[in-house]
Symmetry: C2
Subunit: 552 residues, 2 copies
Amino acid sequence: MSKKILIIGGVAGGASAAARARRLDESAQIIVFERGPHISFANCGLPYHIGGEIELREKLLLQTPESFNSRFNVDIRVQNEILAIDKQAKTVTVRDIVADKEYTESYDALILSPGAGPFVPPISGVRNHLTHTLRNVPDMDAIITSIEVNKPQHATVCGGGFIGLEMAEALRHRDIAVTLVELAPQVMAPVDIEIANVLHEELKQHNVDLKLGKALQAVAETTVSDSSLTLTLNDGSTLETNLLIMAVGVKPETALAVQAGLELGDFGGIKVNDAMQTSDESIFAVGDAIETAEFVTGEAMLAPLAGPANRQGRLAANVIFGSDETYKKTQGTAICKVFDLAVASTGMNEKTLLRKKMPYEKVYVHAMSHASYYPGAHPVSLKLLFNPENGKILGAQAVGKDGVDKRIDVLSVAQRAGLTVYDLQDLELCYAPPFGSARDVVNQAGLLASNVMKGDEVVFHSADIKQLADNQLLIDVRTEHEVDNMGMIPGAINIPVDDLRANLCNIDKQKEILVYCQVGLRGHVASTLLKNSGYKVKNLTGGFKTWKAFNY
Amino acid sequence: MSKKILIIGGVAGGASAAARARRLDESAQIIVFERGPHISFANCGLPYHIGGEIELREKLLLQTPESFNSRFNVDIRVQNEILAIDKQAKTVTVRDIVADKEYTESYDALILSPGAGPFVPPISGVRNHLTHTLRNVPDMDAIITSIEVNKPQHATVCGGGFIGLEMAEALRHRDIAVTLVELAPQVMAPVDIEIANVLHEELKQHNVDLKLGKALQAVAETTVSDSSLTLTLNDGSTLETNLLIMAVGVKPETALAVQAGLELGDFGGIKVNDAMQTSDESIFAVGDAIETAEFVTGEAMLAPLAGPANRQGRLAANVIFGSDETYKKTQGTAICKVFDLAVASTGMNEKTLLRKKMPYEKVYVHAMSHASYYPGAHPVSLKLLFNPENGKILGAQAVGKDGVDKRIDVLSVAQRAGLTVYDLQDLELCYAPPFGSARDVVNQAGLLASNVMKGDEVVFHSADIKQLADNQLLIDVRTEHEVDNMGMIPGAINIPVDDLRANLCNIDKQKEILVYCQVGLRGHVASTLLKNSGYKVKNLTGGFKTWKAFNY
């Protein structure tokens, strides 16, 4: 007998599951319930329509219930909300919002793909006509209407994650003054502070008033005729604004799972096994609502990302039709455009490694996106985190105007394949002057990390230079011109790398020598020269550029 | 006692070896001999200075002998040519071209990095003042002088490889009419014909007069006062041109190796082991002059590429100073800009697999470089070759305006790491609308190939549709609109995918059904629908778009 499959949620994971189920079985009965008016819309594109880069709203509506049904013979019921799941009876209670009636559907297998909703903290006054969240097309429409009707001079975005940053940029594109409020000391939580600081500078360059380490505490009472809000932050300061976007984070939609008595994980997401099954074997869950296993540690985490959601949806359908394949964990590879920059990451960041007390080492590379002599090359700053015991890749982060995506893609594949930093040296990446360098950023990171692994170079880090000990000598090996233009790290003396050999007689062999240059390469030349001349020496990974990024 | 290392050739591999040797040993004596006037110049940038994209000639001169010496304490002797190697005595005979004198140097280790020179076939009349090759800065200067002095209306480029294509583009940038003559039926030998055909169209769009399957047979006699050449091609046609660039290929510079009695390989390159040692253990060879092991087969090949050359140079230095590391074979990852397109490849191509009679299967993906609803998305056409027995990646090729480099980078890493097509489905690649898609081109290729591996989908290829058998039915599942606009494959009938279910009663179950759509995705939906309805069915991988590329 043919299976009856119900899918709750018609975006990303839900739509993937429906299409896949039909391809696996022509006779299955497949029903998708979507509370909202649209299925399979481009939720990642919403900020870009608000900002105007995506001109046509229709472009975001990838499928209609009709188009999806004629392609896949799937019964799509938009504006139909699931009220309850009865896992014993294997039925759901549905409310047809338009017809205003309730009905019941039975299932053989149920797939939950409810997503994650914007989290709005219980701040006094925050529910008002000038405050919005952004999750779906109606939310987007409401923000656009608010902009067109109220013509805000100033907007405030709370939250510096993906949506917060994209909204800040979208509003600046519309020539609206923007204040961005973020509780953490940095935006873009997946990357570490020294990478985030590059974004902070970019935001300031684009006239975003950035308030880090601050939170919204209260919104003064408003009436619907008001065209501005008075915000009070947790430092007591106040702010007048005409539009408030709340984007402090998302939380898994688990109401139905809780009602059905399904197990949740420690982070509040629906708990699933590696076949996407919940604690009830006939009920599957996929996408932003679930907890998934982090790639390195295998520990549960929330990873609200489109790619994993699609894979999980497909996988759930496969399992329902008998496949024994399993979900291969989540690295959390992600990227965000922040004005002219891209910032991307994969795997674990340093903050998390520190918190989990895991052993790690790190190197930085600052290099050009392609051959520096070919027009349009821009610096890429890459941070590579690796296990100092076996050289395995723990995570990577990069920021720059161009070529950030491909370096993180390469490192994401390398990590997933279990490669070590030694292997990164030998990767053959596309090289011609318009596209890369004969020794790519990733190759360079592999070389540096391999040197560290083998003990060929001892590195030190920007955080280690708080106070020089008496037996330490800090040498800046850049040119005088660079030092004059950019300054030095306090306590350093300047001996340009090309003058170092001639000056060895002046360098005390009893001291530990710390060298640095602008990005680390000349520092490497200097440190090997000194090491091979009998000195105890360390090189600053990432050089002055990383030091400046830390001390922004 | 400190080692004395001689390096012949100061570009790419030679320069890498010198710098690495110094970092390994401060006391070694290191001498680099370079016949030409420059070391470490940007040979890959030469065409772009001719074309004008790289405005300043100085940008191509990455190092001077002085700068290299002050950084690395390496004795750089430009315009010093090695006349002979005495491997018994461990000496070389050198001619100082400027001082016009000869001298001898001894060595403990010798590294040959002579490169590969342009191959000019012995064509009557080809040595003349209007004919050039392009290998180094003086060659480039001569071409630019020729352009500035003679103001050519028309130029002819012989050879459609990297340099030929880059020169065709450079000359068009200078508004010179260009004829490109290539003996093979396609340009860009590393890719297969259906990918190359996309380049052929691009060349025509940019008014390059493309003569495929043709060769230069003779150049009519000229005097230095002539401002044009009369070329005769092998089809008897003639051509008047004002500038002739010979770029039919390069051949390893092996004169010194031959003189020294070192072994050559079957392809005429210097034979080395995986420690870069020649048949004489004190003589190493790196770069374009050597034969290297192909990644999949381990068989010898010539791979004149900058990335491998640099790695080999570094490796030779490491081995000289005691390292036991080995060279990890060459995939031949390469990319070329052809006007607005990029074409790239890694691993083996189909021509080679056929010639070697190796088992393979292939799939094509045509998808957008990033989310189609975000501005600036362009199609990427990807061909993935894999081993049908174990799913391992054999090679990949891609062409498109944007995002070609990163897809081939990802597949190059995946191949090197030994991943299978199954693994490609799960790769987590950077996704946000400006950068990619939730299901990337590479993920799609992995899904298609996995379906083929598992037998979930049977594919057929454009070459298989020469003549339909009586028991075959070819169904075009695109919309009527598409069919009207783009035509159909001869013999096909049109049933749009969304109408297929309703028309099953009209499709003969006794026939083998061949379906196709524009790129293969709807064909997959149609073929699974038909398969699950009891039909014997195959889907055309790459769809009508790949068929058109074959039948260009």
